[in-house]
Every structure is written in structure tokens, then in C-alpha cells.
Symmetry: D2
Subunit: 294 residues, 4 copies
């Protein structure tokens, strides 16, 4: 469980720093030294030394005392230490919320859940647009005051539709795409062009039951637990790095349709957590795995 | 959750009836009529009409009033109704506990758990013998007063070892074999000869991570939940019908060894429930699926 | 887990029968006999012989073959058997969905969840009206096309407000009132007049943390699990019979506000299940306890 | 989930440092600076800034490079920083395992579970003695090679029995007492003399169902979830700070005896985790709450 971020923040006041580098002695001392010089107080700090890879990962939530500081200045202050330790690092000003373009097809439970969370202030993202290959949720989008774009997809129009999607991402300056039960497969090119920027919810406990109709597969196999998996999208379908999974006990009495009904709750919860963690810079993507400083 | 069976029962007093047949009107009325004539009171009754297969399944826990009744008499009383409705059925006298031969290799958590449950009266089985391809748990077995048979297995001796196992099953009149982390694969012939009579615990949430080293596989794939699966053994490795699964949330910090450590609790619990349900005639085996009247 | 009811049903075709009576031999045979005579097929049947109370409880889901049958006829057909066994019983025609008046204050997560489920066809109730002591959710109600009644409550106006509520219940022919985070306490008189017809969601794992600010209480006590409890309302605050509870692991890092945020998911899920089970006639209310044929 | 400690460690090589102090800027930098000077590598570090209390808490798992270092030297090196920041702190050499005296009455599931874990190397404690007010588990203790002391308790002999217990604690140099279903209440004096050194397992989800027969209380109240609570013992019965809770869904069909049977698994797991976390210096005791760096 996390310590959550503030609902709003003044620019130049609160930051999240993320660092990954080869593990060695002195990293924490060096980074915390820079932060001390910059009059930063550490609100939260989590770290993970990965014995398998030899890498060290750090996430710090910092608050600046005194006058506000541009993120570029924090960045610059860290540069010498980053060079010394061969760090990949990023500084995020929390006054800037990620802009998340949400895509949906004909099942709206995840979309409805995300929009309600954004509106009630519990999910720190902006949703500049909703894109769908169907018209079903235009009304819901408009009621929430979010532009709705209908982009139908057929085999023939897929390249054009993807170009339209790319244009919408650019137009709405979207950082992230969330596939909230969007039932079209994105092209390998698009996936490759937006690494770590597309989050999908798959309705099974991956790696079980990839592909189509996972609840029917789960029923046929007679499993006693079902789940949902939120993951980054890669060109390799349903193989992307897992961010979050939710799950629940089921039994023989449940038909595929009933599994799907229970699964909707799991999908909405797993996706909402994954999107929040992504938005709060809690997820470190590392090959096929994620480190989640939740 | 179940209504559990009595710790002990007098012969001819308590019965479990299980029925499977094509679903049609009148089954419950007919069966309950026979039981009424036999002065049986229904302590518990569970049924399932499987819309997918068109089959009806029933489990009744019955108590006989008046003098005790041989199970053969109950059987005979049901025969006309069984014929009329094309029933597969079985009547079990609860005074007779299943005899379960337990097999183990070098990890004893499931064995220790099963023996403690039997001894403390919470698992209604007899354990006439423990068989292992190693000597590690001879002491534990003997402390519990259970005969221990060391049957080493190498590639060359496997047929002979399996013959020895068959002999031990016969000698100890075992109804069921439980593979409590027994790390040898049984031959297809042996599996085929004992259908629905061998229960294995696999240390993953099947169908994820079949085969060797499932906790390492789970770590590499970065899943956020691990589990254990108790299933009937068929010739198709790790593909047998699932009886029970247990599961728990994990995170990126856990190494394969730590996943294995947490998983031991899940394995012991899933296996113990599966064995109890099997022993209480709660599991109906149907193709690749089970119906569990838990 | 349940076998769910059909999204719609023709009048006189599908029924749920619920029976409670002193336990004795022959009940199932007698009831199933009547159903057979009425050309009813049993789709599902669940029973519970309560050893503590000596009572027997039954819920049957039935489908009528041949022409449709008025519920009164099913009722009449059962009368002789009911008299013989001293049964309390009820027959419900599933073509008639319960009319549920929903009350809310200033937190809309449960209301939003219930309305989405009704609209998407997964919760078999009608919502004829929403009543609130605040104006916050008029827009949400109206977007869903449900009449919204603002009934403010102060200490002085409480009797008048409750009269207004009673009038609305009558006007909308509501069977049930659901308090979906309605933060006013109903009078003992009102509770007594609608026994088993008011469902509340309390934001703790009752009986822990009754009364105000349960998440703050949970934080101060340092519990490692929080939950939500859906229960029938009685005059005894937070002491009514529990229908459903949901729960999740938490840790020391979570502030009361963060517990509340996680708790919202639990509240919405527990309440939705309780309302569905109530609507599907799965809940038998017995003193302080419920029997839930889920 | 934790990163576990090594099964064994050479003296002066691996340490756990725990720190609590008023929160202010510079703590992490100062502490990590001392560790750097001492040629310590941080294997794991967890911290918590408690906004409610204004306190900062830190746990570091450190490994010394170069020659081994006495714990007193680490202690001394930290003293100036500790003084500057008004720290409570402790340094633990991991080569020294806590000595845990286990007490039990007539239910042995927790005792059996703890002993199996110690023996199989998954619980880093020494058990120098088992104390019981009954003789039931002398055989189990002796089979594990642990001295067993029978200390009967009656109302009249209670003071003498407690003196005997104090003597055994001294004789066996026990750091910690674990009440593994020990059904006698310790005197307020004894509790006060060993603050944070006695761990109990209570068979309910505290604060629900304090005192006697919690499973019967849970049955009567009709809850849908039961649990177990491991907590530090204080003079205030069942009110001590909670270390860990485990829990599981139940339903109306389960009698108090069946709840107790399911609860045994929860008790054993919650207690084992609490004991491990205590032994690995992961638990910070703060008033009625604990911080668990799991």
C-alpha cells in the first residue's frame, strides 16, 4: 500500500525522483546529499537492490522548502552524481498530472470506474480524450465533459485508424494510452513507438489464458480462481510486463458469463491501481518485469 | 465452506450418496422418496445442474434412523430409481475412512501438515503407509507410527519401483495416493490404472507455469500472485482436473526462494482441502473439470 | 458463488421458492412432489439444516414448463404441504424485479456503482428514485434518468423528513431501501416498520468499529485488515444482521484518508452483492444472522 | 513481502539497524554517511515518516565489507549522529538469533507449525524451551529435541507458576515469549516487566471478539469473515499492539467448531509471520500501533 500523492501541488514544490543504476556502496548517501543541498525534505523513499540483475532502484518523494524550484534545476543538480554512478534518472514535478488517453470498445465498466475516480479526485491524471471503435460511450464521455472520438477499425482501415490515433495522441498531448477493454490489437509498430506508455487490462491471470475469451478458457479448464492483469503493452500480445493483478475465488457453478461478471470488478480495480501507480511514477519497467514502489 | 463430517461414525448409520445423470424433471423427488422409505434423514444436500453438459449432480449426506443398515441395502433400494434416470451413483458408509498412501520426496511441509491434521482428528482419512524416494522423512513417519517405505527411483529402476508402488498400494489396501511434493513423474500406465485415485499438489496456479521450477518461472514473468494447485493426476502432466487452488499476493522484492517459502503454506492448505473433499466424497470428476460440493 | 438469474423473465415462468420450517424427515420429498405436479423443473436448489436452531431452510429456483402460471397458483398448490410442515414460505415470480429506493449523502461511489450495474444489466433491480439530504448527485441521477428527491434533514425537521421518505416509498412502490453511504441515522420507528427491507453499508468489518469514523478508528487501533459490511438495518445501530462483508489487507503507511479510499471499493462491492442477493431472494433473515444461498 | 534474512551469518558481518527519531531533513544522509565510513553496503532500507506523530522510522539491512566488526563498534560509530537527531536506535548482529520460549496449552497446531519452520530453516529463531500447563506436547517437544517444562497453573499456584516461568526465561536466556495458544492469562506485572517481548495469537480479528470463545462469538454474530491476530501482550487483555492478522471468508453453514478448524490455519500463519518479523527486527512498536517493515 502506498502513501498517496497530494490532490494538487504548486509547481516547483513536490517532486518524484526515480533512479536506476548498478548497485554499489554510496548511492543513497550521494543522492540524499544532493537533495539536502537543494533544501528538499524526503517525504517517502523506497529502494530495491535486485540481486538477480545487480541493479539498484530508488524512488523518492520530495518536497522543496523555500521558494519553488524548476524541475530542470533539480535535474541539473543531480547530474554530477548521476554521471558518477551511471544512473538512469528522472525528476517529475507533481504539479503536472499525466495526460491519459483512454480507449474503450463496448464494455464500459473500466471506463466508468476510471472517470468516476478522476472526477472524485482519487486518481491523479487528466483524461483529455476518449477514443473508441464504437459509439456506445459517447454519452458517458460527454456527461463527464471529455471529448469523445469515434475511430472505427476494420481490417482495411486499420492503418488509417492507427494514424488517426497517433494524431489524437499528439493533438491531446497524451503521455499515456490506457486500453480500458479496447478489443482491437494495436500494430507492432505502434507498440514499439510508445514503449512503457500503453497500459492494457487483460481479463485473465496472465500468463494463463492469453488471447481470446479468457473466461471461457478458465471455465473449460475448471480453475478455482480467476483474475485480471494490467500490463504494459508490447508487440508480443499479452506478454508485456505485468504491473498489477487482482483475483478472486470461483467455483464450478459459475458459467463463463458469470465469471465475466465477477471479473469486471477485478479488471476495474487492477487497472485503476496500475494507472495510479504509473501516474505517480511508482512503476519501474525492467525487461519483462516491473518494480512497483506501491 | 462445508458442513464437516463426524470424526467417527457407527457402521450403517451415516452415508454419503453421490449421483450423476442426465438432467430431467423428478430426480430429487425420486431420490428423496427412496431415502424417506429407508428412514433416512437428509443432513445436507447439494446439487448442480450443469447447463453446459446437460448433466445433473447430487451429493446427499444422510443419517439412518432405527437399526443400522448395510450399504448394500441402500444401494439395492436405489437401483430401480437409478435405472429409470440412467444414474451413475455411489453410496459410501462414513464409518469407513479412505486409506491414503502418501508419497513424498525431500520437502516435508505437506507431509507434516497432513500427518498433524490426521493425528489431531481434523482430516478423516487413514494413512497406512508413507512412500518416498528418499530417506529424509523416515523419522517423521515413524514418530507418527506410520510405516515408511523407501523406494528409490532411477531411470533404470523406474519400472521396478512402480511395480513396488503397486504392490504397496495392494498390500496396504490404499484407495488413494497423495503426491505430497513427490518429485518423480508417474508413468502413463500407472496414471491410467488409477483414474481419480491419485492427487498431486503442483506449486503454481495451473495452467500457468507447468513443469519444472514454477516459482522461478513466476519470478521471471513478474506475476503479482502465486499459488498452488491440487489436482487429480492423469497421464497428461499437470493437466489433470483441478480440485483446489490457493493463492497469495507477492511483489517484485521476492526471490524465487522466497516465493517458494510462501508457496509452501499455499501448497499445504490446498492439498489438505483437496484430500478432505476427496475423502468426504465431495468431488465429482467430470472430464477436465471437477464439481466440488464443499 | 451463485448461479445468476436471467436478465428478464416472462411472467409466470420462473420462480424462486423460499421455505423455512422445523427440520424433520420428508420436507424435500414433499416440496419437490408439489413442484413436479406443477410441471416445474428445478434449476437450482440449496438447503441448510441449522443444527443450532433445529430449523430447515430451502431456496429453489424453478422454471415452469407448459403455459405460464400465476404466482398465486403456485402458492395455493403449496399450501397443504406448508401446513403439514409448519412452513414459512414465499413464492416469487422472477419477472417482477424488486423496486429499490437508494439513499445517499455526499459520497457517490456506491450510488455510481449501483446505477452502472443496473444500467449494464448485471443487477436485477429497478431503481424508481434516489433520495438524498444533499444536492450533490442530482446530476448523476438525472443522467441515468432516475427521479432525484432532495430531502434535507436537520434535528428539527427529522420527523417531517422521515414522513417525506415514507411518502416517497409509498409513491414509488419501493420494496427495499438501500442506504448507499447515507449519513443520517433512521429513527427506531422507521427501522421497526420496515424489517428486512432496509440495507445499509457500514465502512468497517462489524462488529469492529461501530459508529462514527471507522477508518480513523481502524488507523488508531493499527489493524492490518479493513473491510465493509452490508447489513439489514434494525433499531440497534450497526447491530443488524450481516448480509455480506468484503475486506483487504492494509499496512501502517496508510492514513485514515487512504484507508477510506481503499475502503470505497470494498463498500461498493459488498453492497452490490448484498443488494443482488436480496433481490434474488437468496437471503434468509433469522434473528441476528442471515443464511445466504449465494 | 520481505527480503528475507540469510539462514546463517558470520558474526560481525550482517547487521540490522533500526532508528526512530523526530522527522527532519538530513537523517538519511547522516545515517548513510556513517554506514559508508564503516564500509557497510545497504542491502535493504525501508523508512516511514509518520505524518500523524511527526516521527521518522528507519530499518536498514547492512553488510560489512572487509574484516568483521563488533556490533559495539557500529553502535559507537552511530552515537554522534544519534545524539544530533535525538534518535532511539539499535544495531543487531544477524549472526545472533533471538531465543524464543514457546508456551502452549492443549491445542498444538501453532506449536507444530513453529517447530517445523525452525527445523526446516525457514524461521530464524532458536527455541530453547517449551513451557506448558499441560503434558500433551511433551512428546512433540522431545521429538524435536527441545526441553519441555510442565508448569501447571491453578488459581492458587499462579504466582508460583509465574515465578517458575520467570526463572525459565532467565535460565534459557529467552529474549521473547511466544504464546502459541497458551490459554492462561499472564499477570499484569509479568506483562509490564517484558514489554514488547511477549507475542500472543488471539483467534479473532481484533478488536472484534475479545476474550473467551471468539469463534462462538463470530458464529453468533453471523460475520462473513474470520481471522486471527498476532499481537504484543500488554496488561490490557487483547488490547496490545497488533503485529499481523490473517483472515478468510466463511459462511452460514459453518458451526463454531468448523470456524475453529479453519481458524487454526489462520492462527498458525499469522503467528509465524509475526514471530519472523519480530526476529528479523522488522517491527517497530509505537504506542498501540506497530510499524512493520515486512
Amino acid at each position: 500500500m502506498h502513501q498517496s500523492l497530494p490532490a494538487s501541488a504548486e509547481s516547483g514544490r513536490e517532486f518524484v525522483l526515480t533512479v536506476s543504476c548498478p548497485d554499489r556502496r554510496g548511492i543513497v548517501h550521494a543522492v540524499s546529499g544532493v537533495m539536502l543541498e537543494q533544501s528538499m525534505t524526503i517525504l517517502d523513499s523506497q529502494q530495491f537492490a535486485d540481486a538477480t540483475s545487480g541493479e539498484f532502484h530508488l524512488r523518492m518523494h520530495l518536497v522543496r522548502e523555500g521558494r519553488a524550484l524548476p524541475v530542470a534545476d533539480v535535474d541539473a543538480a543531480l547530474a554530477p552524481v548521476a554521471a558518477e554512478f551511471a544512473m538512469e534518472y528522472a525528476v517529475h514535478d507533481l504539479s503536472r498530472r499525466p495526460r491519459v488517453l483512454v480507449m474503450v470498445s463496448q464494455q464500459g465498466h473500466c471506463l466508468n470506474d476510471l472517470l468516476f475516480r478522476v472526477e472524485s479526485g482519487s486518481l491523479p491524471i487528466e483524461v483529455p480524450a476518449i477514443v473508441s471503435n464504437h459509439e456506445d460511450f459517447r454519452g458517458l464521455a460527454e456527461w463527464h465533459g471529455v471529448p469523445f472520438h469515434h475511430v472505427p477499425v476494420t481490417r482495411d482501415t486499420k492503418p488509417a485508424a492507427e494514424q488517426q490515433l497517433r494524431d489524437l495522441v499528439a493533438e491531446h498531448r497524451a503521455d499515456t494510452i490506457v486500453l480500458a477493454r479496447y478489443m482491437q490489437i494495436l500494430s507492432a509498430d505502434l507498440c514499439a513507438d510508445l514503449p512503457g506508455r500503453i497500459i492494457n487490462i487483460h481479463h485473465s491471470l496472465l500468463p494463463s489464458f492469453k488471447g481470446a475469451k479468457p473466461y471461457t478458457q478458465a471455465h473449460d479448464r475448471g480453475v478455482k480462481v480467476i483474475g485480471a492483469t494490467a500490463h504494459y503493452v508490447t508487440a508480443d500480445l499479452d506478454e508485456g510486463p505485468i504491473i498489477e493483478q487482482d483475483f478472486r475465488r470461483v467455483d464450478h457453478r459459475m458459467s463463463p458469463a458469470q465469471l465475466a461478471s465477477v471479473g469486471q470488478e477485478l479488471e476495474a480495480m487492477a487497472l485503476a491501481r496500475a494507472v495510479r501507480w504509473h501516474a505517480e511514477h511508482r512503476v519501474v519497467l525492467r525487461g519483462r518485469r516491473t518494480i512497483v514502489f506501491d
